[in-house]
Symmetry: C2
Subunit: 215 residues, 2 copies
């Protein structure tokens, strides 16, 4: 059965992006440091069309996160320019370059309707304006037997968590304090979310904590 | 050299106590669940005068937290009744029974002066009204070559963290969501706190993350 998984880097004080997100700082001030653990990895570099890089205990985690994924969900800010930009004219094609590292359909939650954008390498961005459940239905349909990933940001992850739709979460806990920004596990309201620890991997500069939802 | 360490259980959403702390719920609503990992341990039971219990990967963590400690610091609510109670008449001797599990001097940060309270088994509670640095000086003096522990709550830990006085933190990350309560890493202001991951231990129902301050 296809699962809905969330895989996200998080600061020790619970933020998945720093304060003051902008076109210059898509992950907010200090937020880029959340990815210091992944950027040097050979597997990450390869996915972004680069050679070289290192292998360490995080390699396995990155491989696991990328295997058997058939579609993904993300928030509007994770796709495009914070707070606006040239959405209307169809010029902007996301932060991810001509050949995004996904290679499967990505469903972007937004209030702004737009035609799908087909990129090189198999990634097509679809824009969903009628809510998280509709987006998930479309992603599951596209993914078939494979899993659907929520890549962020916090608001989208929190909505799926609160709705009881996430099956699994992997948190990459980075020992930095961002102080402010986009907080995971926020605004869950009265949602009764029960999690069970699945496995822990210690790696250079990060700890990977995997949890499963208990029904 | 004597170190200042903080050792604390924390929910996945960053709280070390739940909302609405009261005499009935000293750790707030749901907060007792933060200690589900430690209460069954033989080492914990022994420290609280009980027999039996289990051993698992957390045993080593609990043993480490308790070895070589010469004094401790804690907030007022961790010692006595939330929001008041019979502090004035000297009757109240803390949550911890006649023979508290510390067996060394404990310095309680409070605004209410009070004479020290000597308990059975080597624990004496001292009440410090002139701030965290004075309390630390007194605790270091009492501890000699041994370490000083900050046992909580969040406000006291955050103050020592913001002041750059904590050398080491061990977080026991429990897979529960409290939603509200006393948040660790809150109100640090502009403090430039840099941490380095020291070691990670996976155990039943908890992950132990140890960090060291980088100067």
């Amino acid at each position: 059965m296809s699962k809905l998984k969330c895989d996200i880097s998080i600061s020790l004080d619970g933020f998945v992006a720093g304060p003051n997100q902008s076109e210059e700082y898509p992950l907010g001030e200090g937020g880029e440091d959340l990815h210091d653990w992944v950027v040097p990895l050979a597997a990450w570099r390869e996915a972004h069309g680069k050679e070289g890089g290192e292998e360490n205990a995080s390699t396995r985690v990155l491989d696991e996160a990328r295997e058997n994924v058939g579609a993904a969900l993300m928030g509007r800010n994770m796709f495009g320019p914070i707070g606006g930009g040239d959405w209307g004219d169809g010029e902007w094609k996301g932060w991810w370059g001509d050949n995004p590292p996904y290679h499967y359909p990505v469903f972007v939650l937004t209030h702004h309707p737009r035609e799908p954008v087909e990129m090189e390498g198999g990634t097509t961005f679809h824009f969903v304006t009628d809510g998280i459940e509709s987006a998930l239905d479309q992603a599951r349909e596209a993914a078939g037997d494979k899993n659907v990933m929520v890549w962020g940001g916090a608001d989208v992850a929190n909505q799926y968590l609160a709705a009881g739709l996430l099956d699994e979460m992997e948190l990459h806990v980075v020992p930095i304090l961002l102080g402010d920004g986009a907080r995971l596990f926020d605004n869950l309201g009265d949602a009764d979310v029960r999690l069970e620890q699945v496995r822990v991997i210690e790696a250079p500069g990060v700890t990977h904590l995997k949890y499963r939802r208990v029904r």
